[in-house]
C-alpha cells in the first residue's frame, strides 16, 4: 500500500499546540494581525471566534450566514473582521467581543468573498456578478457592472490600488480607490481563484479546465500552463514573487517566475502526496511550504533547498484551509471534519 511512513521524518518540527472541533467543514479561517484571534467560518454558515492563548484556545459562535459562509477577513488594524456568505450578506464583527457591528446587503447574491484592503479599512465585496467596495463611513463607494458569471474570487493588489476579479471569461482589474476604468484580461474559460504575486508583477489564476494562467499585469499578456490532472484550486506565491506553487493533482509544481517568467521552464516537482493535494501555503518568509492532501496528511517542505519532505503529520480529515500567522511561526489547519489544529514550527526561519 502506498502511503507515508511518518517515522522517517523529523518529528520535532511540527509541534501541535491546541485543537478544537467545530464538527462542520471549515471553509475559511483568518488570523488577526496580532495572532490573538483566529476566526473560522464553516460550510454550514457558522462564524466562530477563537481566542488563541498559545497552548490552548477558547472559542464561541458569534453568528452565522444562512445557507453557508464563504469567507472571513480581518481589517488591517485588527479591530474588526468581516464575513460573507451565500445568504447575500456581509457581516462586520468586533474583533474582540464578536459583536455584530454591520450588516451589508449584497442584493441576495452569493458573496464569494469579502476582503479588506491591505492597509486601509476598505472592504472589497464579490456580490454575485457585481464587485463592490464598502467603507464604514461612506457605505458602498464603488460598484462594478456585472461580470460574465458569479464572481469566484477577488484579490487586492499588494499596494491596494486595484482589485482583481476572477469570473467566467478571465480577470478584470478594478480601481475602486481612484475610480478609473476597469481593465480586462480576457480569456474564454472559468477562472476559479486568483492570487497576486507579492511584487504585483503577475496575477495567477487557477482554472476550471485544469490550467493555470499567469497574467502579466503590465502588458496584459498571459502564459497558460496545462498538464494538471484536475481543476486548480491551490495556488501560493513565495514572498519574493519569484515562485508560484500550484496544486491541481497529486504533484505540487513550483514555477520559476524570475526574469521572463515560467514559460518554457520546467517547474520543480514535489511528489510525495499519494492523493490529491487540497491545500498549499508558503510560509510568509518563503522558507517553508506547507501542503495537505485527501489522504489526511500535512507535509512541510523547504522547496528552495530540495524536493524532500522536512516533516509530516497525519490529520483526522483532509485539510480544507491552512493559514500561517503573519510572523510565520504558527500554522492553523482547518479540516473537513471541523477540527482546527495549530502547530508551532520549531526553528521557524521567520
Amino acid at each position: 500500500m502506498l502511503g507515508l511512513d511518518l517515522s522517517l521524518f523529523k518529528r520535532d518540527v511540527l509541534n501541535e499546540r491546541w485543537n478544537i472541533s467545530l464538527e462542520e467543514h471549515i471553509i475559511d479561517m483568518a488570523w488577526s494581525p496580532d495572532m490573538s484571534h483566529l476566526v473560522a467560518a464553516t460550510a454550514e454558515g457558522r462564524i466562530i471566534l477563537i481566542d488563541n492563548y498559545g497552548d490552548s484556545a477558547a472559542y464561541k459562535q458569534i453568528g452565522e450566514h444562512a445557507l453557508g459562509a464563504n469567507s472571513v477577513s480581518w481589517r488591517p488594524d485588527g479591530l474588526q473582521f468581516a464575513s460573507s456568505g451565500q445568504d447575500g450578506k456581509v457581516q462586520v464583527w468586533d474583533g474582540v467581543t464578536g459583536k455584530l457591528l454591520q450588516l451589508i446587503d449584497a442584493d441576495n447574491d452569493w458573496v464569494a468573498k469579502a476582503t479588506y484592503h491591505p492597509q486601509r479599512p476598505i472592504l472589497a465585496i464579490a456580490a454575485g456578478r457585481s464587485f463592490k467596495c464598502w467603507t464604514e463611513t461612506e457605505g458602498i463607494i464603488y460598484e462594478s457592472a456585472d461580470h460574465a458569471s458569479t464572481i469566484a474570487d477577488i484579490g487586492w493588489s499588494p499596494d491596494g490600488s486595484a482589485v482583481a476579479v476572477a469570473a467566467y471569461n478571465g480577470v478584470t482589474l478594478h480601481y475602486p480607490v481612484q475610480q478609473s476604468e476597469p481593465r480586462k484580461y480576457q480569456w474564454k474559460g472559468s477562472s476559479l481563484l486568483l492570487t497576486w504575486s507579492p511584487d504585483a508583477k503577475y496575477i495567477a489564476t487557477g482554472e476550471q479546465d485544469s490550467t493555470v494562467h499567469f497574467w502579466d499585469v503590465n502588458s496584459g499578456t498571459d502564459a497558460q500552463m496545462s498538464g494538471f490532472s484536475t481543476k486548480v484550486l491551490e495556488l501560493s506565491w513565495h514572498s519574493s514573487g519569484q515562485w508560484l506553487a500550484t496544486g491541481g493533482g497529486n504533484t505540487i509544481c513550483i514555477w520559476d517566475c524570475r526574469g521572463n517568467g515560467p514559460t518554457g521552464r520546467e517547474p520543480q516537482y514535489l511528489r510525495y502526496h499519494f492523493d490529491k493535494v487540497t491545500q498549499i501555503a508558503y510560509q510568509p518568509s518563503g522558507h517553508y511550504l506547507a501542503s495537505a492532501d485527501i489522504d489526511e496528511f500535512l507535509l512541510l517542505w523547504e522547496p528552495e533547498k530540495h524536493d524532500k519532505i522536512i516533516s509530516a503529520t497525519s490529520l483526522s480529515a483532509p485539510a480544507t484551509c491552512i493559514r500561517w500567522t503573519t510572523k510565520g511561526d504558527i500554522l492553523a489547519v482547518g479540516q473537513q471534519d471541523g477540527v482546527i489544529e495549530t502547530f508551532l514550527i520549531k526553528n521557524a526561519h521567520v
Partner: protein, 450 residues
C-alpha cells in the same frame, strides 16, 4: 468509498408543472432529506431549509467547443453542497423552462469533484399535454428536454382528448424511445417512478423490445372498430401511392377499460406480423382478420375491398398510410360510414418527420475493442453535436464483464460492469439525437464486430 449522492434534474416548459411536482416531492413522506437547487423563480410552498436559488450560468470550456458547455452555477453550488453532505441525501435541480439539458448533464462528466461525489440519477421532463404542441415544432428546447429525458411526465392529461394524448405520446416516443412515459394530472406520480432510478439503469432502459427501439412502424395509422358478424366494405380513393398495406386483427370480445393496453399490444403484434411478402389483393377481394398483411392494389378511382367478419367483437385495422390521404372509410352492409372508437397515428403526418429520433442497435456477437473505440471516437468527433444521449451494454471479445457506457454529446463514460451471467451475451445500445442516420450507425457498429 463514500456512496454517491443521487441528483435528479427536473426540466419542462414554464407551466408544465415543475413546481407542482417539486412540491409533491418535498412533501411526500419518503424519508429523504432533499436539497433543492432552483433556477426557476417558482413558488416552493414547502418549508425546506435547503432551497438554493441560482441563475443559470453557462460556461463554454476548451475555447468555445459547443459540446463542452457546462453549468458554472451548478459547479459552484453542488461543490459547496458537498461540503455538508451529511445534511441531505438527495439533490433536486429544477431548471428554467428554456434550459438546455445538455450543459446540465455535461457538468456531471466534466467536473471531477462532481463526478466523484454525485451521480446523475435521472432527468425528468414534464410536458404540458395541452400546450406542448404549440412549441414542439419550433422550439429546440422542448425537443432537447424530451430527447434528454429518462422519465417523461405527460402532465395535464385532463385537458386533452384521449386521441390527442395518443398522438402526442406516439410522437414523443418516436423522439425518445427509451424514456419511461407516464400520464399525469397535477403531476401526481409515485415517487419511485422518478427518484432513485439507479442512474442510468441500462437493463431497465433497454428492456424494451428492441424492435420498438425502432420508431419505424410499418404503418402510420390504426383504428379500433366494434363490428358485428357480417360483410363490410373498405373504400379507398386514389392516393399518393398505387398500393397500400393493411392488416386486420380481432383484439377483444367487447369494449372494456383496458382497451388502450390491448390496442397497444395489438400494434406490437402487427409490427411483428409485418413482412415483405404481403398477400396482394385486387379491388373486390376480401380482407380477413387473421392479423396478416395485405397489399391492396388500388384503382385510379374508387377501390372497394370486403371485410369478412365471422364473429362479433372489437377489431383493429392497421394501414400503411393515413386513410385521410386516400379519403378512405369503412362502410357497413347498409352503406353507412363507421367511425373508429379509438384511432392512433404513428406518424401524425409527413411534415412531422421528426428531426430528433432514437436509433437502437441490438446484436449478438463480440466487439473488437480497438475497432469500436476508433469508430466511436470518429463518430463523436463528427456527429457529437447531434448526439444528445447514448447508452449501451456491450460485449467485448475476451472480456468477462459486461461493458456499460453512457454519453452526452462528445463526452463518453464507460466501465466494466458485472460479469456476464447465464444469459446470451449481446450488444444493446441506443442513440438519441438529431438527424441520426440509422443505416450508417448500424453499418459502423456492425463493422466493429469480430
Amino acid at each position: 468509498m463514500i456512496s454517491k449522492i443521487p441528483v435528479t434534474v427536473l426540466t419542462g416548459f414554464l407551466g408544465s408543472g415543475k413546481t407542482t411536482l417539486l412540491n409533491r416531492i418535498l412533501s411526500e413522506n419518503h424519508g429523504k432529506r432533499i436539497a433543492v437547487i432552483e433556477n426557476e423563480y417558482g413558488e416552493i410552498g414547502i418549508d425546506n431549509d435547503l432551497v438554493i436559488g441560482a441563475e443559470e450560468e453557462i460556461f463554454e470550456m476548451n475555447n468555445g467547443c459547443i459540446c463542452c458547455t457546462v453549468r458554472g452555477d451548478l459547479i459552484r453550488i453542488l461543490g459547496n453542497l458537498m461540503k455538508r453532505r451529511d445534511r441531505f441525501d438527495y439533490i433536486m435541480i429544477e431548471t428554467t423552462g428554456m434550459a438546455d439539458p445538455g450543459p446540465v448533464a455535461q457538468t456531471f462528466f466534466m467536473d471531477d469533484d462532481i463526478k466523484n461525489a454525485l451521480s446523475l440519477d435521472g432527468i425528468v421532463t414534464l410536458v404540458d399535454a395541452k400546450h406542448v404542441i404549440e412549441h414542439i415544432d419550433d422550439s429546440d428546447e422542448v425537443k432537447e428536454q424530451i430527447a434528454f429525458a429518462d422519465v417523461i411526465l405527460l402532465n395535464k392529461i385532463d385537458l386533452v382528448t384521449p386521441n390527442a394524448l395518443e398522438e402526442l405520446e406516439a410522437r414523443i416516443r418516436s423522439m425518445n424511445s427509451v424514456a419511461k412515459i407516464f400520464r399525469t394530472q397535477d403531476a401526481a406520480i409515485a415517487m419511485d417512478h422518478i427518484l432513485n432510478l439507479g442512474g442510468f439503469d441500462l437493463d431497465r432502459a433497454l428492456e424494451v423490445n428492441p424492435k420498438f427501439l425502432e420508431p419505424e412502424y410499418p404503418f402510420e395509422w390504426s383504428g379500433v372498430y366494434q363490428l358485428d358478424e357480417g360483410i363490410y366494405t373498405l373504400i379507398f380513393n386514389a392516393g399518393p401511392d398505387p398500393t397500400i398495406n393493411v392488416s386486420l386483427l380481432r383484439i377483444a370480445n367487447t369494449l372494456n377499460e383496458s382497451m388502450q393496453t390491448t390496442f397497444n399490444s395489438a400494434a406490437e403484434s402487427a409490427v411483428l406480423a409485418f413482412s415483405s411478402d404481403e398477400t396482394a389483393l385486387k379491388p373486390g377481394e376480401a380482407i380477413q382478420a387473421f392479423g396478416k398483411w395485405y397489399q391492396l392494389q388500388l384503382n385510379t378511382n374508387k377501390s372497394r375491398f370486403s371485410l369478412l367478419i365471422d364473429q362479433p367483437g372489437i377489431y383493429a385495422l392497421f394501414t400503411e398510410h393515413h386513410p385521410d390521404e386516400f379519403h378512405a372509410h369503412l362502410e357497413n352492409a347498409d352503406g353507412n360510414r363507421l367511425q373508429a372508437v379509438i384511432t392512433r397515428a404513428y406518424k401524425p403526418d409527413h411534415e412531422h418527420d421528426e428531426e430528433i429520433t432514437s436509433v437502437g442497435i441490438t446484436t449478438s456477437g463480440a466487439l473488437n475493442l480497438d475497432r469500436f473505440e476508433e469508430w466511436l471516437r470518429w463518430l463523436l468527433a463528427t456527429k457529437g453535436a447531434d448526439i444528445f444521449r447514448m447508452k449501451g451494454i456491450l460485449n467485448f471479445s475476451g472480456m468477462t464483464e459486461r461493458y456499460v457506457f453512457q454519453g452526452v454529446h462528445m463526452l463518453f463514460d464507460g466501465r466494466p460492469d458485472r460479469p456476464w451471467a447465464d444469459e446470451p451475451r449481446k450488444n444493446a445500445l441506443i442513440f438519441i439525437g438529431r438527424n441520426l442516420d440509422r443505416e450508417e450507425l448500424n453499418a459502423g457498429f456492425n463493422a466493429c464486430l469480430d
